[in-house]
């Protein structure tokens, strides 16, 4: 009897100790509804996978030297502005120190709008909750509030590089024609403010653009315009559904440009699943491909949590590791009674970062709380995304 009591007592004692284990909660926010559901699923998987890896190697170190495990709570905002605001307020009411998200740019903008504009401005009653975005990519959102930070690729830099490289690889291609999804802020901005400008800067003659809406299904007019323009390069700034529609119509009407360029968001499984055959050869710059050891490991870890690794979900993965670094360097207390102080410390920590670690190399942080991420070019080959060119020469 006495022999069995001792191990039992020991077991109880150790579980008692384990129950005292500290946790730091990090919230995730994204859309798990509608056509963007895969974005939410993948980000969620990446966050859980990253937290799992961090926890397996001991967790994060708090100000008093003790260790804490990271806990992730993921919220679905259904890509709806009002719900997104409701979710961030709900998150602010929990002990989560920061929210990673959101997925949709049309949620990010109102959500950042309700945050306090300048940290420490007592006359501004905006919400004081740090947000670290992984997916929402519309240009220039982080400058809306000093509590908003983003780890999304800088399309201006990437496309500048794409067109520069294309000039050397295809010297006889001189003209460019665009296709743009007009009613989606991201794709629209990416053509007019990014692709068109960078192509002109590289001395391409911009012959014009064809426009459509994100739910359109008939592209006969637009592709006929493309055919008439007969440009060497066609750049399609649209998401997978309409990109596939346009590519199929191009096949029907026999439009075959020398070079086909696509939108960053379309370098995902969706395009291959929707129109793998027609997408063959399309060139897209991306801030993630599983080329490095860490990248491959991250992709495998995320796959274990049923997510796929792409430029969006891997930003979420990177965010977790950046947050570990900030939590430790800012000496976060982890005290549930000092949540707001910890949040302010994390905000300051993120604001002071000049560089962060990315899966493709070092990421520079800008003064406007955006990221300048290393990138490479992929192209669709045999129904897979293959690396076409790595501008940093790795």
């Amino acid at each position: 009897m006495r022999n069995s009591l001792l191990p039992l007592a020991l077991a109880l004692a150790t579980t008692g100790v384990a129950a005292q284990e500290k946790t730091i909660t990090i919230a995730g926010q994204g859309a798990k509804s509608g056509v963007v559901r895969s974005f939410g699923l993948n980000s969620e998987a990446a966050l859980f996978a990253a937290a799992d890896q961090i926890n397996k190697s001991g967790g994060v170190t708090l100000a008093d030297g003790s260790k804490a495990k990271l806990k992730v709570e993921y919220y679905d905002d259904r890509c709806n502005a009002e719900e997104g605001i409701s979710v961030i307020r709900r998150i602010a009411g929990t002990d989560a120190l920061i929210a990673v998200g959101p997925g949709c740019s049309n949620v990010a903008e109102p959500m950042f709008g309700i945050l306090q504009k300048k940290a420490g401005d007592a006359s501004d009653t905006g919400l004081q909750m740090p947000v670290f975005t992984d997916v929402a990519i519309k240009v220039g959102l982080a400058k809306i509030s000093e509590w908003a930070f983003r780890n999304v690729p800088n399309e201006a830099t990437m496309y500048g590089s794409v067109f520069g490289w294309l000039k050397t690889k295809y010297p006889d291609a001189k003209t460019i024609y665009g296709g743009v999804e007009e009613d989606f802020a991201h794709s629209r901005a990416s053509w007019y403010a990014v692709m068109k400008e960078k192509a002109s800067a590289e001395k391409y003659e911009v012959l014009g653009e064809s426009k459509w809406l994100l739910a359109d299904t008939n592209f006969s007019n637009q592709v006929r315009e493309m055919k008439k323009a007969n440009a060497d390069v066609i750049a399609i700034s649209a998401h997978p559904f309409t990109t596939c529609g346009v590519l199929k119509e191009m096949q029907r009407q026999g439009v075959k440009p020398k070079v086909l360029v696509g939108l960053t968001s379309s370098s995902s499984l969706e395009t291959l699943q929707g129109c793998g055959a027609q997408a063959e050869g399309i060139i897209i710059p991306t801030s993630f491909a599983p080329v490095s050891k860490e990248g491959i490991a991250a992709a495998e870890a995320t796959a274990k949590f049923n997510g796929s690794a792409d430029l969006h979900s891997m930003a979420a993965w990177e965010n977790m590791f950046i947050l570990k670094q900030v939590i430790e360097s800012q000496k976060i207390s982890g005290d549930k009674a000092k949540v707001q102080e910890d949040r302010a410390k994390i905000r300051e920590g993120l604001a002071n970062l000049k560089t962060t670690n990315g899966l493709m190399g070092t990421v520079k942080r800008t003064d406007e709380r955006e990221a300048d991420k290393p990138y490479l070019f992929v192209h669709a080959k045999d129904n897979k995304w293959a690396v076409l060119h790595n501008p940093s020469g790795n």
Partner: protein, 297 residues
Amino acid sequence: MDFYFGLIQLIGVHTLLGLSAYIVLLTGQVSLAQAAFFAIGAYASAMLTVLAGWHIVPAIAVGAVVGAALACAVGFPALRVKGLMLVIATLAFGEAVRLFFFNFDYQVAKGAVKVGPLGGEGFRQIRYFPENGWTTGDVALFIWVLVLAAMAFLWWVDRSRYGAVLRATGEDEVAAQAVGVNLTAIKVSAMTVGGAIAGIGGALYAHYTTHIEHSSFNILVATFAIAYPIVGGLASVFGVLLAVIFVQGFLVEALRALGDWRNLLFPALIVLAMNLRPRGILDAQALQRLKSLVGRS
């Protein structure tokens, strides 16, 4: 606490949206154009506070007026169309208004930055509340003062002769005409009141989300507008409130605990609700029973 105030704000604005469709539904017209009046109230009031520096209260009043004006303009041609065709006609009008805002650019330079609606990009930085020190609780209170005013007005209408005439028109137009009801006046006035209420709701929506764009006023919003009175029941204004709390409070927020299942349960419960209570949660029978319960105590 912030979260609960935010939820209260949301329920308030959606109640206004529902009430705007409620009064039009009383006259037997199913209008999918309420989102359009919501939109014009939003853009008008936001432009006044952001571009012209107005105080929020007159801006909301202007939102109500333009919503009412637009609704009045729609009310007259809508007289010629009945039933399902009115649904489509109002849907078409609503979409036309949304697409107008999709193409609407009006930017003014304020210092180094340009502000104002920018077509597809929307209208950002409508920050009257945070810039003027309103807390979430202050905004919730403000919204609910307006909601209660609207509910009180409609409740009073229900007890007045005007309300009886509205419902008579909704039940049987021919009979109503036979007893001398001026159908034009009744239907157009109901539409106008609905437009005003939607305009107020839209103005509040713009200011508490700080960012509006054309897709904030799409067919789904128009459908929710009529869903609230239909699911809630047309017997009383409280039906609308009940439906908003059911949909936004229960289906959207409370069911969040169920994770992924929430998205599937949401429409399934709406289908179930319409099967179990086809006249709405708070239909005439239920209202009678509630009244007798209260009368007894």
